[in-house]
């Protein structure tokens, strides 16, 4: 195991971090050092404070009045609207009772068919992939696709058609939404140059999640959905 970082080595990293130049590979080690070094934590605050003064050296460039106007219009507009629940919460609470029954019935039928085939052929039981339909969301209603779930590998493939191209500063982030609790970002959709489809691999079980959705987010993704909803699908 590598020796713990000494303070002098850490000081270099603290300075890099303060100006935004610290690379990911060094961050964990720096944080480990800071967790046990009070003087390091003080120095980190000092360096961050000094770096935060850099913008003061710039010649002021006042923003145009329209920037404030547009920003406040959006802020006050959102504040004074009827404060609806986030779209993903409204979706979960609005799932018709018969939809859940339909999905359960479909799953039961699929299971019965598999068992019947197994019984006839004597083949070793291999669960067939389950497929869920996804459709366009509020902002891109013509989107279609499906989520193919492999219960053995616990891996799901989301394939989507009809998504609009994105600027380089945005991504389509995929969310799994539980019945209770916030959405969980699980993947980013990637475009296929040849087919025009977008795909994403979702690893892990879908147990406990009722909905899959995607939104456009700033590049790198977001802790929670902030952009417009481009697709949605029920998981039962």
């Amino acid at each position: 195991m590598a020796a713990a970082m000494n303070c002098e080595e850490a000081d270099d990293l603290l300075a890099l971090d303060a100006v935004g130049a610290l690379e990911t590979a060094d961050r964990a080690e720096m944080e480990r050092h800071l967790s046990t070094c009070a003087s390091g934590r003080h120095l980190a605050a000092e360096y961050a404070g000094v770096a935060s003064l850099l913008p003061l050296a710039l010649d002021p460039a006042p923003p145009p009045a329209r920037l404030r106007r547009n920003l406040m219009a959006q802020v006050y507009g959102e504040a004074t609207s009827k404060a609806p629940s986030p779209w993903w919460r409204r979706l979960v609470t609005a799932i018709p009772a018969n939809r859940a029954i339909t999905v359960v019935a479909a799953a039961a039928l699929a299971t019965a068919i598999v068992l019947a085939v197994w019984g006839v052929t004597g083949q070793r039981l291999v669960p067939a992939p389950i497929s869920y339909v996804v459709s366009g969301g509020t902002s891109q209603q013509s989107v279609t696709g499906n989520l193919a779930v492999d219960a053995v590998t616990r891996q799901s493939i989301l394939t989507v058609h009809g998504l609009a191209p994105l600027p380089r500063t945005e991504v389509y982030e995929v969310w799994l939404i539980p019945a209770h609790g916030p959405p969980k970002g699980v993947a980013f959709l990637a475009p296929s140059p040849s087919s025009g489809a977008w795909t994403a691999v979702v690893n892990g079980s879908l147990d406990g999640y009722t909905t899959i959705a995607a939104t456009n987010e700033p590049i790198g993704g977001s802790p929670g959905p902030t952009g417009s909803q481009v697709l949605i699908g029920q998981l039962g």
């Binding site: 890099l16 003080h42 460039a61 406040m72 500063t169």
Partner: protein, 189 residues
């Protein structure tokens, strides 16, 4: 009525639009200046500033206790978004430091917050100008260009260790040049 940064923090945390308005009125100009310095494009700078403040507005309820001043906090948000836009980097280095989820409790642990209120741009410019050119360029590549330590080393054709040393020495010199403004200089424990 004069609002302190603490008042603005409380207002934002309470998801009050007046809090965002006060935040913008106090630091919107500086935020726009930073964004324009990085992007050199007025339209892009305006977009980044708007996105940044809207992000603060929408995530007000998720703030957690942390460190830093309100000014440095909003400047970091704007800087990070501007760097993203400038470099189009899929793997933002600052993803490891989710600044937009950090606390906006100002001035508690930032000894420079009060100093910044009194410093003039001229004083900071002078301190920067007094740095050796290679140290100043290193700082500028990092802070305004979004270059990582490795990228700076490549761009300036120096070893990685030289980059690390230059940044640390530059910040130490800036700290020393401006430290006499501190009422209670920080002493190591």
């Amino acid at each position: 009525m004069h609002l302190t940064d603490d008042d603005i923090v409380r207002s934002i945390s309470a998801h009050s639009p007046e809090g965002i308005e006060a935040l913008y009125d106090r630091y919107g100009g500086l935020a726009h200046t930073v964004a324009l310095r990085i992007l050199s494009d007025r339209g892009a700078a305006e977009d980044v500033v708007q996105e940044s403040f809207l992000s603060v507005w929408r995530r007000g309820s998720t703030f957690q206790p942390g460190r830093g001043s309100l000014r440095s906090w909003i400047c970091t948000i704007v800087r990070n978004r501007a760097i993203d836009r400038l470099r189009g980097d899929r793997h933002r280095t600052h993803l490891d430091t989710p600044i937009e989820g950090q606390s906006i409790e100002p001035a508690i642990t930032d000894p420079w917050a009060a100093v910044a209120l009194e410093l003039s741009g001229e004083e900071v410019r002078k301190a920067l100008a007094d740095l050796p050119p290679e140290q100043r360029q290193t700082i500028e590549l990092a802070y305004y260009g979004g270059y990582s330590q490795s990228e700076i080393a490549t761009a300036m054709e120096v070893p990685l260790g030289t980059v690390k040393g230059r940044v640390r020495i530059a910040l130490d010199k800036l700290r020393a040049a401006l430290a006499d403004r501190l009422e209670t200089p920080w002493q190591p424990q």
